[in-house]
């Protein structure tokens, strides 16, 4: 496949971002490749009901 990109002009007034989260990118510029990968693990067994490990009051 052949394709042609003509960048005639790019002007942005202001960027207002709350958060750039894990494994994400804000790019003001050019790049060839971007590959963002993320694993987030919250399995059912990660919810543990236990007793306090140390006395809450001393």
């Amino acid at each position: 496949m052949k394709y042609t990109v003509i960048n005639r002009g790019l002007s942005v007034g202001q960027l207002s971002i709350m958060a750039v989260a894990s494994s994400s990118v804000v790019l003001i510029g050019d790049t060839q490749t971007v590959a963002c990968s993320s694993i987030f693990d919250t399995p059912p067994e990660s919810l543990i009901v236990t007793r306090p490990f140390v006395p809450i009051t001393t």
């Binding site: 894990s22 494994s23 990118v25 804000v26 003001i28 590959a35 993320s38």
Partner: protein, 136 residues
Amino acid sequence: MIIPSRASLVNWIRVASIDLAGTVQIGDSNQITPEAQVYAVQRELPIFNGDEAKDLSEFPIYSQEIPLPPITECVEQITIQENPVIKVGGIDIIGVAASSVLHVGSTQRIQLESRVKNIREFFSDPNEDKSNISPD
């Protein structure tokens, strides 16, 4: 093939906070490859001993392979930079999290990776509490 890249013109940047392995890069770079491994323990009460995770290699999440999409298409790209400047008035960011990047300038390759394991520990059963509250 190296495509000629543009210059980036940003008048001002305000970043309130940057987390672990987060990056603010001003200027061109060749490649960006941050990785973050997070083991997050949330407890009903903030009581921590500091030895919650001694060895992360026992969890497969930190070693399992993440598949990347195969790039098989043969693309012939021609880029013409008629106006070789990207203009941005200002950037206002509250937080840059783990393994993430704010990059002003051009690069060749970006490869980000984050692996997060989240543990929630309750001192009483939260589901049991919910059944007591329900009107049934």
